[in-house]
Every structure is written in C-alpha cells, then in structure tokens.
C-alpha cells in the first residue's frame, strides 16, 4: 500500500504512529492483520452471543437451551440462532409460543434423544 493510504488509515493513532512513515506503516499493517482475523472471529463470537440470549430467554419459560433446540430440531423448525435471539428480545409472545411448541415435542421424545417414545 502506498504511504498516502497508510496515513489515511493512521488518522487518530497515538503518538508518532499517526505522522511518522515507518511507525505508521507498522501500526496500520498490524491493524489490518487484526481486521483479517476479526472477520473470522465475528461469526464465532456472534453465534456464542446468540446462544446466550436464547438460553436466557428459554430459561424464563423453564427450558434450557439444550432442550429447547432439541425440540425445535426434532420438529424440523429451521429458524437460525440469529433470528431466535432477535425474537427472544423483541417478540416475547412469539418466542414463548416457540418454547411451548418445543415443550410439546419434547413430551413425545424418548429421554434425551431425537427419537420418539417407545410404545
């Protein structure tokens, strides 16, 4: 990258890193490396974050995240974690109906599996 682009990205850096060629290049390149890694981490971190939210939401209605998602998978509900967490926050009634649906399915399942109860 040419030095003009480097200085453009180095705006607001601490000390000589914002106006000294060699230091600015070092800092900007390190920053871009972190950017590269973070784009991968973002997917992981957000998934964890969504799961925490879904867990908190479903525990209000007496189901753990584990059981909740087992019920949904068993009944082939394919709503992803991003949407489920969004529903847990902004649509409490719809989320409750999903938890109730999951509870209903779980009552027909054998122990901690996806297979139905033996008759």
């Amino acid at each position: 990258m040419n030095i003009d682009k480097i200085f453009k990205l180095a705006k607001g850096f601490y000390g000589r890193s914002k106006n000294c060629k060699s230091l600015a290049r070092e800092r900007v390149e390190k920053g871009l490396e972190y950017n590269y890694v973070s784009r991968k981490l973002k997917k992981r971190d957000f998934r964890q974050f969504w799961i925490q939210r879904i867990n908190a939401g479903s525990r209000i209605h007496g189901l753990t995240y584990n059981d909740f998602s087992r019920g949904l998978t068993a009944s082939d509900v394919q709503i992803n974690r991003k949407i489920l967490s969004e529903l847990a926050v902004s649509e409490p009634y719809s989320f409750k109906s999903l938890v109730d649906h999951s509870k209903n399915i779980l009552s027909h399942l054998h122990k901690n599996t996806y297979s139905p109860k033996e008759i």
Binding site: Y36, I79, Y93, L98
Partner: protein, 160 residues
C-alpha cells in the same frame, strides 16, 4: 417410518441427516424466490391467487442462505438476486409468521404464506481491505473485496 430432518435450507440433499421419526414428511422447496414475470401488481397477484394480506404482522423469511425478520416497509440487504431494479418478486420461504393474536410456526415452512418484495437497488457492499502478512518471511499481500448485494423493500405479508 423414516423422516428426514435437520436438512439445511441452502444445501443440497447430500447433507441431510436421517433420524427415525414419525411426524410429517419434509417439504421440498426451491432456492430462489418466485419472480413475478407477468408484471402483475401486488393486488392483482393477491386476487388472482386468492391471497389476503395479514395486517400488523412480522415474518421470518429465508433469502439466499440467510434469514431475516421483516415487517411491511422494511428495506433489507441480501446477497445479489439477479432480477432487474424495480421488479416485483414473491418470497415463498416463510419460516414463521407472528401477528397480534397468534404465531404460526413452520416445520420448516409455513404453508400458504408468502411475502411481497421489490428490488430497490443492486449495489456493492462496503470495500474490505484484505491484508495478509507472515512475519520474518517477507510475505505481504494486499487485495480488496466487495460483495454483490441487493436491497429489497418488503411489501405485504399474504395468506391464502
């Protein structure tokens, strides 16, 4: 009875898990939204196929591998849909519909519910600088990337 579950909407049938269940069979569906090629308006489409709009509702729709919670009037950015700007499309993969009084949960899709949408813009996403560097190996590479995107505006959520 064998029932196929856990299939991913975006993937082909090769990645489907099979578990023993006896509820309902999986529904098959296409991966692209229906393009309204005959250029009929939203209202004409509703009357022709006897759809009625659901007032004050939200829907969870599946578009090209991503899911969105939408209400009427939303503008969302999706992956590129190869349809001209201004065209009217119908999103047929609805996973959940919520109204004031009830919630319809799809397993995996809600039947007879569709969502109107219009193509607003076909832009590119923000530029991303990709910088790769290996220390002490004299290796530095800089490239850029801009994904192709589509802005779509959501119309009515309709039901048969």
């Amino acid at each position: 009875m064998n029932r196929i579950i856990g299939s991913n909407l975006m993937k082909s049938t090769s990645s489907i898990l099979v578990r023993n269940q006896s509820i309902a069979p999986i529904k098959s569906f296409s991966t692209t939204p229906i393009i309204n090629s005959s250029q009929v308006s939203e209202e004409d489409y509703n009357t022709k196929n006897s759809f009625k709009p659901i007032e004050e509702s939200f829907a969870v729709v599946h578009i090209s591998g991503k899911q969105f919670k939408v209400i009427k009037g939303d503008i969302i950015m999706t992956d590129r849909i190869n349809v001209d700007v201004g065209e009217h499309i119908v999103l047929d993969k609805v996973l959940l519909v919520g109204t004031k009084s009830q919630t319809m949960i799809g397993t995996p899709l809600v039947e007879n519910v569709k969502v109107h949408a219009y193509i607003e813009e076909q832009p590119k996403t923000e530029h991303v600088t990709i910088f790769k560097h290996k220390p002490r190996k004299n290796y530095k590479r800089t490239t850029g990337f801009q994904a192709l995107a589509t802005y779509i505006r959501i119309g009515d959520i309709i039901q048969k």
